[in-house]
């Protein structure tokens, strides 16, 4: 039987690498992908605890988080497309104008 902490360590690894990805990459699409991975790490935690405590609520909330991730991806990519159409860039450090 794998202890619950091993799932937490895995989730910690995914979460941290995702955070570093968000903070370091310049490309906004890769930043969005890293955010998806952070949400994924949270899902692993929720399902592992759901298994450990024998409660189904963790899996239900994992489904809600997946729903949020889908909504976030749709809106985020829409914003990126609109921005690219206007400024011809997807790099975060060149997005420095509120109005042009």
């Amino acid at each position: 039987m794998i202890p619950t902490t091993h799932y937490l360590y895995l989730s910690l690894a995914l979460f941290t690498i995702g955070i570093v990805g968000v903070l370091t990459r310049r490309n906004v699409i890769v930043m969005l992908m890293s955010i998806e991975l952070i949400l994924n790490a949270v899902n692993i935690n929720l399902v592992a605890f759901s298994r450990a405590y024998g409660a189904v609520a963790g899996q239900v909330f994992a489904i809600f988080i997946i729903t949020d991730a889908a909504a976030e991806a749709a809106v985020g990519l829409g914003i990126i497309l609109a921005f690219f159409r206007n400024r011809e860039t997807v790099l975060a450090d060149e997005m420095d104008l509120l109005k042009w």
Partner: protein, 172 residues
């Protein structure tokens, strides 16, 4: 029982390694399409971990929604955005060392907390059978006690759909 436990461990560590390799690839690849492929690998590995945790419904949801739905959206967005320019530019922004140090601090912090308090998370042995039948239990919870959040999630999806259409539209 012992053989089944060993197989369980093999599955878990295989999928965990695959997930970590996938996410490292997402963060380090220069080409965004390669990042997307690594992201698919990581998401599929996570689906495997859900299966190993006996959450079959979530396994199916993960593959159908994440790997198929969201990744198709990502790859469409990548293809609509010109790649050849960004390939020649720097991958990382200037604060990468600060971010690296912050990541190390975060790992140390969580590692300490898990090392010291990990036993608190584990009140007893996990139930052996898992939550079976999984899909029925999740469905009863979703349409029973979690009916209101479920409906709010559907409204959220509607709002996100309208928002995405408005954002991507050329002229409003």
């Amino acid at each position: 029982m012992n053989g089944a436990g060993a197989l369980d461990q093999v599955f878990f560590y295989f999928f965990a390694a695959l997930a970590v390799i996938g996410i490292v690839g997402v963060v380090t690849r220069r080409n965004v399409i390669h990042s997307a492929i690594f992201l698919i690998t990581a998401l599929l590995a996570t689906a495997g971990i859900f299966l190993q945790l006996q959450a079959e419904f979530l396994f199916a949801v993960q593959i159908i929604l994440y790997v198929v739905g969201i990744m198709v959206l990502f790859i469409f967005a990548i293809m609509l955005v010109h790649q050849d320019v960004s390939l020649k530019q720097l991958r990382y922004s200037r604060q990468k060392w600060v971010a690296g140090v912050l990541g190390v601090i975060l790992v140390a912090e969580f590692w300490f907390a898990l090392d010291k308090g990990g036993s608190l998370f584990h009140p007893g042995a996990p139930i052996s059978g898992g939550l079976q039948p999984n899909t029925e239990q999740v469905g009863q919870a979703l349409f029973g006690g979690y009916m209101l959040p479920f409906e709010i999630a559907s409204v959220l999806l509607l709002v996100a759909m309208v928002g995405a259409v408005v954002m991507a539209k050329r002229r409003i």
